[in-house]
Assembly symmetry: C2
Homo-oligomer: 167 residues x 2
């Protein structure tokens, strides 16, 4: 009987610890491997910088938005982007409109990708930290190891940022 009670308490305590851990996980934004970048709160309300269309295999429509620091830098042509700049790229499947055949519109959401400028913290990666998220969870380390190389190899004279401002 005593043993059973101890066992019951142990199970209860275990459940409680699990519950506490889960709550902490839900409240703490998930961080990208390598960079520790999180999905910034309220980004869906930020101003857009430009849309894009990525052909298959990804086959996506995209919109890049920026926080106030990033938007100001774009408008004033400030390069490099100042510390505190955050860019978020939203992406959806590129799906034909059911109402108007020549148009393609957003289907299911795919990834959310984030770039954060912090010239000290991210000195080793050109001042930028990267994060790629699916359903709010960061993708794996291997994928994050590809961000910098691709931006470095392809972006020309724009502080590692592909997206230009669409007037």
């Amino acid at each position: 009987m005593t043993r059973s009670l101890v066992a019951l308490f142990a199970i209860a305590a275990g459940s409680f610890a699990t519950a506490v851990t889960l709550a902490a996980t839900a409240d703490t934004p998930a961080k990208s491997p390598l960079y520790g970048v999180t999905v910034p709160e309220g980004y869906r309300h930020w101003e857009f910088i430009a849309p894009a269309h990525e052909t298959p295999p990804l086959d996506e429509l995209r919109v890049v938005v920026g926080n106030d620091i990033a938007i100001k830098a774009y408008r004033e042509g400030t390069l490099p982007f100042p510390d505190g700049s955050i860019l978020v790229k939203l992406a959806w499947k590129h799906v034909q409109s059911k109402e108007f055949a020549p148009a393609f519109v957003p289907g299911a959401a795919t990834t959310v990708q984030v770039m954060v400028k912090d010239s000290k913290k991210y000195a080793a990666s050109g001042g930028w930290g990267f994060g790629r998220f699916v359903d709010g969870k960061p993708v794996d380390l291997a994928q994050h190891q590809t961000c910098l190389g691709c931006h470095k190899a392809n972006v020309k004279d724009h502080d590692l940022v592909f997206t230009r401002y669409a007037p």
Copy 2:
């Protein structure tokens, strides 16, 4: 001599009148034919609702933004859209990125298209006024006569508005 002076004054007065007319034109936003819709001030700062891709012949990338009334209606699923809702569609040529071949990005800006909800003023057109602008100037009457018919014929159960909210 007196005649010359009178002539000079007449020319000066004429120039002044022309200058005043030009200034008035510059300050007064151009109105679309049929609906009297103008391009709303500050729309480039508005939140985006969704991007779209229009295949050739138009061959465009687009982003639809909305004022606060329209955005609130989208978020809360309010239909029909309340009076005061304004939607603006920005469009650019769909151009291959010079830095990343699978991506298409905004080229030259093409049209700005506006829908304004006013159920009394626009009672005859489902509560919506339409405006299509190129370089800030409305296109002709014939083009504006096509807006309502196309929206009416194609949009299903969404208050004549094609664009749905991209999460």
